[in-house]
Amino acid sequence: MDADTKRAPPVIQLKNVAKVYRSGDVEVRALRGVDFTVEPGEFVSIMGSSGSGKSTLMNILGCLDRPTSGEYLLNGREVARLDRDGLARVRNRTLGFVFQSFNLLARTTALENVELPMLYAGVPSKERRARAKEALERVGLGARLDHHPKQLSGGQQQRVAIARALVGRPRVILADEPTGNLDSRTTVEVMALFQQLQKEGMTLVLVTHEPDVAEYTQRIVVVKDGRIVNDRRQTPNPAVVPAEEVGT
């Protein structure tokens, strides 16, 4: 392979993507031609008020929804026209999700929650266990493998969710308002973890409506009325957690 000599392709490449929802006679144009590229190793935040189209954009990026028109190249591969099974495979192998409300399975241990994506990838159970453990250690929860979500704080739950996103070795992690349900201190913890992952080479895209959170990222994209209206790069604000409280 000539991956070293050639510049790696963009992780995400949207070309003139539009999404139209129809309900009866009413047409809602959620996205009106979005061009958007994310290079490997970038840490991008997408901002916008509610109704701006940022959630639709995130759903399309996450292969949970298909664009009405336009192209979506994920890791150089066209994914906009895949069927449900094809999209499931892409979500499983190429993407990692982090949600606002964590979305961990209740009454299921942290370890088993993290194993979930590998269950659908057909990874043998021994390897699953080992990799899930490794991912939880990576997010600083090596001591809480057998805890249930109820026994964990919000910050810890979100870190379990991040471990779950990481464990499938995705090309990009998509986080939808990951700090929306967290207090300011755990927000900093989670953002520090994201910054750490980026340093290790991970590509991250994050949706938020909080400017403070966006400041921790490298690049801020603003969506309004279904279009990207601003796209700027910046020096991220380092997320520093008070030392004595790290690791909870």
């Binding site: 929804d65 449900r84 499931a88 979500r91 979305n103 961990l104 979930l116 659908y120 990838a121 057909g122």
Partner: protein
């Protein structure tokens, strides 16, 4: 995700809400339990009916002599002797579908041992009788054709008679009893048969050769006519109807009855009576099984109902699973296997309950306990089918959920 992992997942989901799972499976448990218990009850009843008929003799026909008519009053069958000893011999030897035939002449008499006496029923008959009526010997032997021809004063005792004349456990072969005033040597004792369904004691009988009976026991003899019924055994169960027709034709011919004349005798087919009994118990089991099947279907509807509730409750879980890469078929399999597991576990518990109930009832009624593994497997298999059929709709509903909506579901 393989089947085993899906199965583990299903079991854990079911264990999470134990009460609900048990209540949901209850319909299936009752359904399968009912099927198993009903079939066992039906089989037990059938077997006990069969046992009664077998003890009377297999493939049996009875020839009853014709009715008498004195003045305007008609006697019943048997009131007028019409069957001769020659008729008996002809039936015995000339009908190919008949294996054996023997008369049964009855008389009550006082029987004496050395220090006891007992009033019992004396049956005068021939050698064929023991095979035709399925009597086996517990001690000694039964009399032979030679004994009959010679009018030998020999007797075969039923167990009840032995118990009353000599006490339980005594072997009276070789002892001399007196019937009325005539001494008889005891040749054998029949193996006990117990009671008829109406409480008649089969074993309270003394058997003596027909010739001896006519001379020594009977008050008056009717010469050529047999004073009693004739028992006929057909060659096989399939041939009882043919034997019945053959015997009827032969006797009509021998009695020189014209085409318009009514029979002056009656040939009854006990196998027909038995099979009629069998049929009615079979119809009963079929009816009960149908009711049980209905309750299985109702159980299936219960499963569908709860699976639908479960899918709604777990919408978010489904959303998460789909987001991390579950395909629609993975979700379908998960919920289908959950329904299937619930139904099959219910089926297994139901089979155990059904067997328990059947055992209890069998003990209660003194029936043989008949375990039918094929019925148990069939019932469990059917409950699995019910699980799949009624689990399909909820599982399909789950697999078609839109992940975006599912993840937003509160």
């Amino acid at each position: 995700m393989n089947i085993l992992e899906t199965l583990v997942l299903a079991l854990r989901a079911l264990l999470r809400s134990k009460t609900r799972s048990v209540l949901t499976a209850l319909g299936i448990i009752i359904g399968v339990g009912a099927v198993i218990a009903m079939v066992a009850i039906g089989d037990g009843a059938k077997a006990s009916v069969q046992k009664v008929f077998d003890s009377m003799g297999t493939n049996l026909l009875i020839i009853l002599p014709g009715s008498s008519r004195s003045g305007g009053a008609r006697g019943g069958f048997g009131s007028q002797p019409t069957i001769t000893w020659d008729d008996l011999e002809a039936v015995r030897t000339q009908v190919s579908s008949v294996r054996g035939a023997a008369p049964e002449m009855r008389s009550n008499a006082q029987v004496f041992s050395e220090d006891q006496n007992w009033n019992t029923s004396i049956i005068g008959t021939t050698t064929d009788y023991f095979t035709v009526r399925s009597w086996t010997m517990a001690h000694g032997a039964h009399f032979t054709d030679a004994d009959n021809e010679a009018g030998a004063k020999v007797a075969v005792l039923g167990q009840t008679v032995v118990d009353n004349l000599y006490g339980k456990g005594f072997n009276p072969v070789g002892q001399v009893i007196r019937i009325n005033k005539t001494p008889f040597t005891v040749m054998g004792v029949t193996a006990p048969k117990g009671q008829s369904p109406v409480g008649q004691d089969f074993d309270n009988t003394v058997f003596v050769p027909a010739t001896t009976f006519k001379r020594q026991v009977q008050a008056q003899s009717l010469g050529a006519y047999i004073t009693g019924a004739v028992f006929v055994q057909a060659v096989s169960a399939d041939l009882t109807a043919k034997a019945q027709a053959d015997v009827t034709n032969l006797l009509r011919e021998r009695h020189r009855l014209g085409e318009d004349d009514a029979n002056d005798f009656d040939v009854r087919n006990l196998a027909e009576v038995a099979s009629g009994q069998q049929q009615s118990t079979e119809t009963l089991s079929l009816l009960l099984a149908a009711i049980a099947a209905v309750s299985l279907v109702v159980g299936g509807i219960g499963i569908m109902n709860i699976m639908l509730v479960s899918v709604t409750e777990r919408t978010r879980e489904i959303g998460v699973r789909v987001a991390v890469g579950a395909r629609p078929r993975d979700i379908l399999a998960q919920f289908l296997i959950e329904a299937l597991t619930l139904a099959v576990l219910g089926g297994i518990i139901g089979a155990a309950v059904g067997l328990g109930v059947a055992k209890l009832l069998a003990a209660q009624f003194g029936w043989p306990m008949l375990v039918r593994p094929d019925v148990a497997l069939l019932a469990i298999g059917f409950s699995g089918l019910v699980g799949v059929v009624f689990g399909l709709y909820p599982a399909r509903k789950a697999s078609l959920l839109d992940p975006i909506d599912a993840l937003r579901y509160e």
